[in-house]
């Protein structure tokens, strides 16, 4: 084979002869392939191409999308999800066992019974406290895990454990793995979306949606709590709409004139097409973020008429709209340390619950009524729970609870998880998970299983090493699968 023949069998030529007769959809698909118009492939580069095209799972899947409601700071399982009669009995007395404290100066060994009442709810009869009345309404669709454990008593590491499967920093987060493995069902919207709070960024900042060693394509795209909600995807308000349309049409005119003088220059044609595709993505994103299309009833469901939860409700609703349109993974974050109740737990915890309880429950109910819950996995939880003893023993209103990563609660709904059940238990005081412990490895192994992914086959080669999310650890918690 001579040299010319070899080079002429490149994709470039395929495009040269076919691109103009392709449908615009096909062209868009081609444009989305990184490097579709790049120079001919060269062996020593042989760059792996990475795309966001939808890819089949490795085995039958139960879930195809995930919404994670991330409650950073450590929601107090003892006051919301995990009733403990012993705790109430010992209220105000010295804790009879050993405690692992994080803050010694404010530590005490005095037990703090939960100030809130627990009741049974739903057909399943799961006990929940009065702080989460809306969750109680959907509890038959929820699997409450009461035996979570990461064992690293500070926020950063425990967040990494729950978000990347590993305690060490810098690993790709779950959302990056899912989009790397499965791509996205839509090419008009980002594959993986992080909805951040208008307050502060979560702890660990951008690490929460970082692709780590995976290609940057799989990084989460931040949807900001105000316009422009997506950077680069939508223009600033000032030029949005008419002004941008005129700019684009002038740009098109410039480019067409330029091309007319350079007929046959394929890269130039490709770029003109890519501007059109980009403009289309803008519209798709705008549409996805436009909540005015929702009915009054839906908005009410998400708590739009209650100022305490309206903002979080908006983001939960955006999450549903994203998943509906084919986005693979959405995370909704509360602001920094919203749940980190070292003190003033009696006032701070009810406020935090008020913010998220109704929207979170609404999301489950709404997904269910639209038939999306079956394939959408909803996660609600943080990186830790709290201790059974008082921190900051400076008066009834001022008391709080210190960190506890040895035993805490979180819940899952949909996507192949069994509703109306609780799983696992902590000890009599809720300090340590003691029964059916689910650690961060098990949690991720279970999620990958639900998405039809084999933990050891989902790998990425970095510096000649096959990297994986679990690195050989974790078990699928089959007991909670439906």
């Amino acid at each position: 084979m001579n040299n010319n023949d070899r080079l002429q069998s490149t994709r470039r030529h395929f495009l040269a002869s076919n691109a103009m007769s392709l449908s615009s959809v096909a062209l868009a698909w081609l444009l989305n392939q990184d490097g579709a118009f790049a120079k001919s492939a060269r062996p020593e580069l042989a760059p792996q191409t990475f795309t966001l095209d939808a890819k089949p799972p490795q085995k039958p899947a139960r879930a195809n999308a995930m919404i994670s409601l991330w409650m950073q700071g450590g929601p107090s399982h003892l006051d919301m999800f995990d009733p403990k009669p012993e705790l109430q009995k010992y209220d105000g007395k010295t804790f009879p066992g050993e405690i692992k404290y994080d803050n010694a100066a404010q530590a005490s060994a005095t037990v703090l019974g939960s100030p809130w009442k627990f009741n049974k709810h739903g057909q399943c009869g799961t006990e929940l406290s009065e702080l989460v009345p809306h969750l109680a309404n959907v509890i038959d669709d929820v699997c409450l895990i009461r035996s979570m454990h990461t064992g690293v008593n500070n926020h950063g590491q425990s967040i990494q454990a729950m978000n990347t499967g590993q305690i060490l920093a810098g690993r790709p987060v779950l959302g990056s793995w899912l989009t790397y493995a499965l791509g996205s069902e839509t090419q008009d919207l980002p594959a993986y979306v992080a909805l951040i709070d208008p307050g502060q960024l979560p702890v660990m900042g951008v690490e929460n949606w970082n692709n780590g060693y995976l290609p940057a394509l799989y990084q989460g795209t931040v949807v900001r709590p105000q316009e422009p909600r997506i950077l680069n995807l939508t223009p600033p308000a000032r030029i949005k709409g008419e002004a941008q349309t005129r700019y684009l049409s002038y740009l098109e005119r410039l480019n067409q004139r330029h091309l007319e003088q350079r007929p046959g220059e394929l890269d130039l044609e490709a770029r003109i097409a890519s501007y059109k595709l980009a403009a289309k993505m803008q519209t798709a994103a705008k549409e996805a973020l436009d909540l005015s299309q929702e009915t009054a009833a839906t908005k009410r469901l998400y708590g739009f008429d209650d100022p305490a939860c309206k903002e979080f409700g908006e983001r939960c609703l955006i999450a549903r709209r994203m998943v509906e349109r084919g986005v693979r993974c959405v995370q909704v974050f509360t602001e920094n340390q919203r749940w980190d109740n070292h003190n003033n737990i009696r006032s701070a915890l009810p406020a935090a619950c008020k913010k998220v309880d109704q929207p979170s429950a609404a999301l489950v109910a709404d997904l269910k009524q639209r038939g999306l819950l079956e394939t959408t996995l909803v996660h609600w939880g943080g990186e830790m729970g709290r201790l059974p003893v008082i921190q900051n023993n400076a008066g009834l209103e001022k008391v709080g609870r210190d960190h506890n990563t040895y035993g805490f609660s979180m819940w899952l709904a949909g996507g192949g998880v069994r509703g109306g059940m609780t799983f696992g238990n902590t000890d009599d005081f809720g300090h340590h998970a003691v029964e059916d412990v689910v650690n961060h490895y098990d949690y991720h192994a279970t999620l990958l299983h639900l998405f039809g992914l084999e933990p050891e086959e989902l790998t990425f080669k970095q510096n000649n090493r096959e990297r994986s999310l679990l690195e050989g650890k974790g078990r699928v918690v089959h007991e909670i699968l439906s």
Binding site: V206, L268, K461
Partner: protein, 876 residues
């Protein structure tokens, strides 16, 4: 298992290129050496001959060995393919074994069949006593890239009037053979823009364009070229090309930590200076491979010239290096550094994928497993995995004896303060403890005090329990701040004071370098079975690849007695740059050509081997290589040679004839159109807005994650992992991209979509993709919009208030051209409509921002369109 991974990579690479082996034409005689052996080498050698393995007792590395056959008897019967096991096992799908992904193609199988049918011929007698592992056939030796560089005479051509340099003779001759004319010269504006971007990566100023366009003297182009070649920005552009090949990064990579590499910038600066000074490239190569061997150890009280030679060896420190990070498998990581260093050296200077022979003989090229380790032996004394230095240790101090004395004096002063601080701290802890104690019931105080004052190990269970029940009495140096902030602040102030004094020490700078320990026998290099360092076999001496070895090759010393070091690298570097080496000069001129034309004469600049693409113009390649060596390895001279040619100066327009005959323009019937690279795009935008900070050299400008995870220029200022207050960058953020930190894990978000290479470990050729994230970035990113606004302000400053003057000025700045009447009219009409639109939607002035006039906003929108247009993004 890990050691096996490189071979998986080789396999994948092979899979994508499985069809490259030539198919013999009908009627052609098929021989073992030329036609069959390459197929068996790729698919069979590994289990049937190499590495001492003879599966089924069969060795297929020579015809006579196949004829002898294995356990199942003879492997072929000449003339009878149907009775030949070799073929039948392949046809049945038994061989290669099922689990091997790479399968012989139908053409390959047909070739074997025909070979047997035609009598299973070998071209010549096969060696009887040679080690077949290192047997290289004449056919392999005859491969073009392994031949000495030929002295080529430029051919004569019909279109002699178009010939400016001998390059044109080579190019036009081939064009004429294909009935294609070379294109007419590009116009002056196109040319000056091409030259500026090509040599500087920056646009020409409109005044420079005008001066050149209006200069009708015969040598106007040559003078312009000289002027541009002398610009200090030239080194920043061409140094960048070399940094790609060297795999430059400001961080270690390898692990997620991706630690920053302090002082590596000195190597970047060295490269830029070398290009600016037109340092002879042979010297440049020698310094990078063996700068330390040009000096006499110990490296103390170094002069700037000596330090520079050490800085140059930073080239051998470019590979990702995880050996300084905890939790890393040290032996694996060390050997990986060696492997990646060999990959960088071989792809940059040899243009060969030597790395494919790390675990077994190269499946395509005649590079044996032994060859690989012979190359490794060259670097073993300086990168000795048994006596390893982590990155933080592998550096040379530039501290002088005087600096050291001064520093000791200052340290003594600081220690005085710190001693006083420790005393104070003890007092505060005791006082706090007493206060906490006082809060407890009186009866507890004494037992708690006793418990606390008892050393931890001697405490009774009772005492331990007591302390546990009252955690607040556990006051320590690290928890003091939780009780007594004032005390903690005072202690901190004292510590700060000591630190401030320490900061007055003369700054100790380091050079990131390699060197060999002296006074020690050099470490032995062993052949690693399957590339596994835990399976060392025979010892291997340093030498050049066998196939490149000729009578003229200088042998490499094992340990040069005349030198304090082994002299291996120095000897190797001198051989590479001797002018006799078949590859070095070819590889280098090809790379220069590539960066002028967007494609190489060898289109695979990092692979001149069997899997690469052979040169489109082999005679020109050799002629250039000879000229380059003859000019004293002057890169600037090479630029002049290429850039004064008609080939380079021709127009870039397509025509049907050319597209029909040579759509890929491999014959150079037109100048290829090229897109701006990531760095050039950013630099150019800043130049056009007149914001570019031209400051050269020094530590990299840092990159950080912003609040949404984009990587932006800025000083990281984290608070609990989140970005804190923004640290003012004082114009550093407006410096050329080559000075921006290239942290492997933090590719700058405004450059990454434009094919910024990932250095794993290096980049021998960049992509130029066209994808929608690029468009979104140009349409909507804060960076581009802010530049558009700055561009508009500059245009107003330069051109005043007149709209057509503004349009013309913007056009000149962005395109190095003046708008036509139509273009001007269109632009004005656009500005008019945009102005009306913004006037109808007035923007209220905020207290931070001045009120913007609708016309200003319209002008910014116009400038934005220019900055996102193809005319701006592409060079004709």
């Amino acid at each position: 298992m890990i050691c096996k991974l490189p071979s998986t990579r080789c396999l994948k690479l092979a899979l994508t290129l499985a069809s490259v082996i030539a198919v013999p034409l009908a009627g052609e005689e098929i021989t073992y050496e030329r036609d069959v052996r390459p197929i068996l080498k790729t698919h069979c050698f590994q289990c049937h001959g190499e590495g001492g393995k003879l599966e089924g007792g069969l060795d297929v590395r020579l015809r006579r060995l196949i004829a002898r056959g294995g356990d199942s008897g003879e492997a072929f019967v000449a003339g009878m393919p149907d009775n030949s096991l070799l073929l039948q096992r392949i046809l049945d799908g038994d061989m290669p074994p099922e689990e091997v992904a790479l399968r012989p193609t139908a053409d390959e199988v047909a070739t074997i069949q025909r070979w047997i049918a035609d009598g299973a011929i070998a071209s010549r007698d096969e060696p009887e006593d040679l080690d077949p592992d290192n047997y290289i056939t004449e056919e392999e030796r005859a491969f073009w890239a392994f031949q000495p560089v030929a002295r080529e005479q430029p051919p004569t051509v019909s279109a002699a009037q178009r010939v400016r340099t001998p390059i044109d003779q080579f190019i036009i001759a081939k064009l004429e053979a294909n009935n294609l004319p070379i294109s007419p010269d590009a116009d002056a504006r196109t040319l000056i823009r091409r030259v500026y971007f090509d040599l500087l990566g920056l646009p020409p100023a409109p005044e420079e364009v005008d001066a050149f366009v209006n200069d009708s003297s015969a040598d106007a182009y040559d003078r312009m070229l000289d002027r541009v070649l002398n610009s200090p920005h030239y080194g920043e552009r061409w140094g960048r090309h070399w940094l790609d090949v060297a795999g430059y990064a400001d961080s270690e990579g390898y692990t997620e930590d991706d630690p920053v590499r302090p002082y590596v910038y000195k190597y970047r600066d060295y490269v830029i200076r070398a290009f600016n000074d037109d340092k002879p490239f042979d010297q440049f190569v020698i310094e990078q491979l063996a700068g330390d061997e040009l000096l006499t150890p110990p490296f103390e009280n170094l002069t700037p010239g000596e330090a520079e030679k050490l800085v140059a060896t930073g080239f051998l420190r470019m590979a990702p290096d995880g050996t300084g990070v905890g939790g890393v498998d040290q032996n694996l990581a060390r050997n990986d550094v060696m492997a990646k260093t060999i990959e960088i050296v071989s792809t940059s200077l040899l243009g060969l994928t030597v790395g494919c022979a790390q675990c077994h003989n190269h499946r395509y090229d005649p590079i044996s497993h032994e060859d690989y380790h012979a190359i490794r032996a060259i670097f073993e004394p300086s990168l000795d995995w048994k006596n390893w230095l982590a990155p933080a240790k592998r550096r040379v101090s530039l501290y002088t004896d005087a600096d050291r004395a001064k520093s000791a004096e200052i340290e003594a002063e600081a220690l005085k303060i710190l001693e006083a601080r420790t005393k104070k701290q003890d007092e505060y802890i005791e006082a706090t403890f007493q206060r906490e104690l006082a809060k407890l019931e009186a009866s507890l105080r004494e037992p708690i005090t006793t418990a606390r004052n008892t050393p931890e190990k001697q405490r009774t269970a009772q005492q331990k329990k007591l302390l546990k029940e009252h955690p607040s009495v556990n006051v320590t140096a690290s928890s003091l701040y939780l009780y007594d902030k004032k005390a903690a602040d005072e202690l901190k102030k004292m510590a700060d004071e000591a630190n401030a004094i320490r900061k007055t020490k003369p700054k100790e700078e380091f050079v990131r370098a390699v060197w060999e320990p002296t006074g020690k026998a050099p470490p032995a290099t062993f052949l690693f079975h399957r590339g596994d360092y835990e399976q060392p076999k025979q010892q291997i001496s340093p030498r050049e690849l066998t196939v490149l070895t000729s009578a003229r090759t200088s042998t490499l010393p094992e340990n040069d007695e005349a030198r304090p070091t082994t002299g291996r690298r120095l000897a190797y570097a001198k051989w590479l740059t001797s002018g006799e080496h078949p590859l070095t000069a070819r590889v280098l001129v090809n790379r220069v050509w590539l960066n002028h034309f967007g494609q190489g004469l060898v289109p695979t600049p990092g692979d001149f081997g069997t899997l690469g693409v052979p040169p489109t113009h082999p005679e020109l390649l050799d002629w250039l290589a000879n000229e380059f060596v003859a000019s004293g390895w002057s890169v600037k001279q090479l630029h002049r040679l290429i850039m004064t040619s008609t080939t380079y100066r021709q127009a870039s327009l397509h025509h049907d004839e050319g597209d029909a005959i040579d759509a890929d323009n491999l014959l150079y019937w037109r100048m290829p159109v090229r897109r701006l690279e990531a760095e050039v795009l950013r630099d150019t935008v800043l130049a056009i807005t007149d914001e570019l900070n031209g400051k050269a050299f020094g530590p990299a400008v840092p990159v950080m994650a912003d609040r949404v995870g984009q990587f932006v220029i800025g000083q990281e200022n984290l608070n609990a992992g989140r970005p804190g207050a923004i640290v003012p960058m004082k114009g550093e953020d407006l410096r050329r991209s080559i000075y921006i930190e290239a942290r492997r894990s933090r590719p700058l978000s405004i450059m990454e979509p434009f094919d910024l290479p990932r250095m794993e470990p290096n980049c021998t050729s960049r992509n130029a993709s066209t994808v929608s994230p690029q468009s979104l970035l140009l349409m909507n990113s804060e960076f581009v919009l802010e530049r558009a606004s700055q561009f508009a302000q500059r245009v107003q400053r330069d051109a005043g208030g007149d709209v057509s003057m503004q349009v013309t000025r913007a056009w000149q700045l962005a395109f190095a051209a003046t708008p036509s009447d139509d273009e001007l009219a269109e632009a004005i009409s656009f500005l008019d409509e945009q102005t009306k639109h913004f006037a109808a939607h007035p923007l209220s002035a905020t207290k931070d921002k001045q009120k913007v006039e609708p016309a200003d906003e319209a002008l910014a929108s116009f400038c934005h369109a220019l900055l996102s247009s193809n005319r701006f993004l592409y060079i004709d």
